[in-house]
Subunit: 369 residues, 2 copies
């Protein structure tokens, strides 16, 4: 299999702006060409657009706007992990030899239709993913005797990290008291426990090993890939306090990369809601069951930025189709020692965890410099 790496990236601020999806997409894509004068539009073999937007033919539209005439172009959708699905698809185009250079652009508007999964919609007013997050929170807290106060640390930490991320939606820090006193949405979920939909875009360029030599002096390689879909509806999940698809995905990703949890220096975790962060750490094998909060609290207290350095989804905002790509950009910046005040010490191996719809499906990527 050909080696595949990240040759460049571009990202926009995550906002509540009311921009057209075509403009949002283009904004991060053109950053790539601005940032790297060795990457030329006419060498791009494939353009993949990651989005839940209902507009059709967005990849050719992006191509037309960006001056690209690729071989392959199409959109990819899988709700909140559309971004990493697109990255894995791009990886396969290169690893198979069908392409050498692939642009992946993910974008979403704050009013994305991907926020509601109609398939799972049978709970009266709770159309938003709040219904499963609330059930997850109740189940997780009961099973492991975790308090709301314990979980609040996730939101406090991630909003704090976001202040060092110039593109983050959150512009404020919060105390544990602030989280606990924020608007109560359900018995087990408060407003500050939730990531927020927003408008934003993130693009990366993947390249084959041969191509990489010509265009990047600090490549980051995708050494491990794991993906798993269990179901679409969250009620088919085996457990409501762990993430089965994430377990499978991480095992495959570590096997492919020939790495273990202890080798990982920095993590992007899909904290759609605060409870997701400890649950994911446990399902990914970084922590024993019920002990995820210990790792998070330690990271918060020592200020080591190891878990969700850019502020996670809670701090950065969650433009669905862009999220997996933004996570991958963060790990790339970390491994290139280019993460400003968010920089983790001696980062050489990073992990991206991106999931959809109550972790009914997950992607895990292992990245190395």
């Amino acid at each position: 299999m050909n080696k595949v790496g990240i040759a460049g990236y571009g990202i926009t601020p995550f906002t509540k702006e009311d921009n057209k999806i075509e403009k949002v997409l283009l904004d991060s894509a053109k950053e790539i060409f601005k940032n790297n004068d060795k990457i030329h539009q006419n060498e791009i073999d494939a353009v993949l657009v990651s989005t839940n937007n209902n507009s059709k033919y967005l990849s050719p539209i992006l191509c037309e706007l960006a001056g690209i005439q690729p071989k392959i172009s199409h959109s990819i959708e899988s709700l909140c992990n559309s971004g990493t699905n697109s990255i894995v698809s791009a990886y396969s185009y290169i690893a198979s030899g069908l392409a050498d250079l692939v642009l992946i652009s993910g974008a979403e508007r704050y009013d994305s239709p991907g926020q509601i999964l109609q398939w799972d919609n049978s709970r009266g007013e709770f159309k938003h993913p709040i219904f499963w997050a609330s059930i997850f929170a109740k189940s997780y807290k009961r099973e492991y005797s975790i308090s709301d106060e314990d979980l609040a640390v996730v939101s406090v930490k991630n909003h704090k990290h976001a202040q060092e991320n110039p593109n983050a939606l959150s512009k404020k820090t919060y105390s544990i008291k602030d989280v606990l006193e924020s608007k109560k949405l359900t018995d087990d979920l408060r407003l500050l426990d939730c990531s927020r939909p927003c408008t934003g875009s993130a693009s990366i360029i993947l390249a084959s090993e041969e191509k990489m030599k010509k265009i990047s002096e600090e490549p980051v390689w995708i050494s491990g890939i794991g993906q798993k879909t269990i179901s679409a509806g969250f009620t088919k999940n085996i457990s409501l306090s762990s993430m089965e698809s994430s377990k499978h995905a991480s095992q495959d990703a570590f096997r492919m990369a020939q790495k273990e949890n202890k080798d990982v220096d920095v993590l992007e975790i899909h904290d759609a809601f605060s409870v997701c962060e400890p649950m994911a750490l446990e399902s990914l094998g970084f922590s024993k069951e019920g002990k995820g909060m210990d790792m998070i609290s330690e990271s918060y207290e020592t200020n080591n930025f190891k878990i969700n350095p850019r502020g996670g989804l809670i701090g950065s905002g969650h433009p669905l189709g862009a999220t997996g790509i933004a996570q991958t950009i963060e790990i790339t910046q970390q491994l290139q020692s280019n993460a400003l005040k968010r920089q983790v010490d001696n980062a050489s191996v990073g992990l991206v965890h991106n999931m959809s719809a109550a972790a009914t499906s997950s992607t895990v990527l292992v990245l190395e410099k």
Copy 2:
């Protein structure tokens, strides 16, 4: 690169029925398991859904309904060539080694939102692709002195072929007079010159060479792939009487397959409108410029079923996301000598041509037994 072939398929009738997209999708997917007892749900590594439907997370939904828990699952959209984009993506998952067995299911409802490309929408009442087809027809007829009567043969032939295709939307044959007297939509386009949107679904299974040995005794191999995107808006096309993206795609596909036009025994051509069939034959290199109708007329007169044996889009109907997959199934059946009264003599090499939006993008596949 690993060899990739077609191990099985399933297809539904193309109709005007008002079914839910999830049911339409499932109907063709479950045919596969019914038709081949060596293909098991638990061995499927990836599920790709090809559609323009606005519903999200359709691949995991199909998985849940069909009892599949794959690694990879997502939707792919690229208007009318979503189907072949999905096939090429599946090919790359297998050729790269990330998957051995991939299910691709394409489906659409008669009211698909992919029928209107908003990006290209600046022509008053002509929101439908009729605007470009009409300009193509005028340009092509002028440039090569082709009459409406000449072009009508495409529709007559394809409706006739469709009568031998049990899944086709068309249940009637028409004379040249019928075509010329059908409702006039524009100066250069009549109702019977157009393919019709419909409800339908088509699924195929792609397999690696190793896997193929265990599950199919009559594999059909994908030996050539070519794709090209020129733009999104049709006004960026270099010519209005040829298909630039199809030229590029066919050259790449033939090069990869190490085949020439003369080797091809049977063709699926994207006849969204009658003028597309001769234009495509010319751009794909089967005919000299302006001479595509000669080849079509000869095929019609000798009744050899070589061009669009299942009735093309005009005869079969055009459920956007399913079309490229249905075309590929037709060529598979032809190469397996399993095409009933549509069977072409001694078919060993076939070609699929699938395009979107005034041929601003095209896919060409070469298939061999």
